[in-house]
């Protein structure tokens, strides 16, 4: 059963102009973050100390490095989807809304790139 109008069905879009993809992406990243988030918390607690040597050794492990990259990517994407809804709800001026989202999107991409580079540098042994 579909609740969508014939027009939205034919164009694949709803009143939100991008269909249900935003809603679905938020759910998919949520499920991923439950798993990745719990993995990260348990990993932190399982480390004997958070000294530099131990943290580097932990990040450099192949499985840890990949899961950490996935965690960062998913967190940033989920955050971007979340703040987008908040901005759409509270920023009413169209121009200001676009400017705010542009700024937040840039910030999210920069944060993701910095974090990914840090993990990769440690994983490939380029770090200190």
């Amino acid at each position: 059963m579909s609740l969508r109008s014939p027009l939205s069905r034919v164009s694949g879009l709803g009143t939100a102009k991008d269909g249900v993809s935003h809603w679905w992406s938020q759910r998919v990243t949520s499920v991923a973050l439950v798993l990745l988030g719990l993995w990260f918390v348990v990993s932190l607690l399982r480390m004997p100390t958070l000294s530099h040597e131990l943290v580097l050794a932990w990040i450099a492990g192949p499985v840890n490095a990949v899961l950490l990259l996935l965690l960062i990517g998913t967190l940033v994407y989920h955050s971007q989807l979340g703040v987008q809804v908040v901005v759409e709800d509270y920023v009413h001026h169209h121009g200001l809304k676009i400017a705010t989202m542009l700024l937040l999107t840039f910030a999210h991409v920069v944060v993701a790139a910095l974090a990914a580079f840090a993990v990769l540098r440690i994983a490939f042994g380029g770090g200190a």
Binding site: P48, V119, G127
Partner: protein
């Protein structure tokens, strides 16, 4: 004399006509903790960059993270994390069509709120015990 535009017309329900219920606070808290975690992401990234930048940078970061005010901030972020996680599961249960009845929704609200406080406390107890307070 009543024109269409001045006559009191029925309104569909919106925020200001609802009597306040604590489940509404929980709903808003989901959004507040979500925004807080977007900011908290910056601290996680700072920690990773510091680790990748060398021993001196990591030492600076460690000093920053053990500062009492930052510690309070981190406890706040960890509560936001656990609350958003638990309440997110609650929201996704609703998405499947379950637990929407008033009684069930109120009960799950309490479980999520108290559960978030309990997991936050447990997390810090384990962290500080295992890492000797220098975490």
């Amino acid at each position: 004399m009543d024109s269409t535009s001045t006559r009191r017309r029925p309104l569909s329900p919106f925020l200001t006509v609802y009597r306040w219920q604590y489940t509404m606070s929980l709903s808003i808290l989901h959004r507040v903790t979500g925004c807080a975690l977007s900011v908290g992401l910056l601290l996680l990234v700072y920690w990773l960059i510091a680790a990748a930048s060398g021993a001196a940078a990591y030492e600076t970061a460690r000093h920053f993270f053990v500062h009492p005010l930052v510690r309070v901030l981190l406890i706040g972020f960890s509560f936001a994390f656990f609350y958003h996680l638990l309440n997110g599961v609650r929201h996704m249960t609703w998405d499947t069509g379950h637990g929407l009845e008033r009684k069930a929704a109120r009960l799950s609200g309490w479980i999520v709120f108290l559960g978030a406080i309990a997991t936050t406390a447990l997390f810090w107890i384990l962290l500080l015990r295992d890492h000797g307070g220098a975490a």
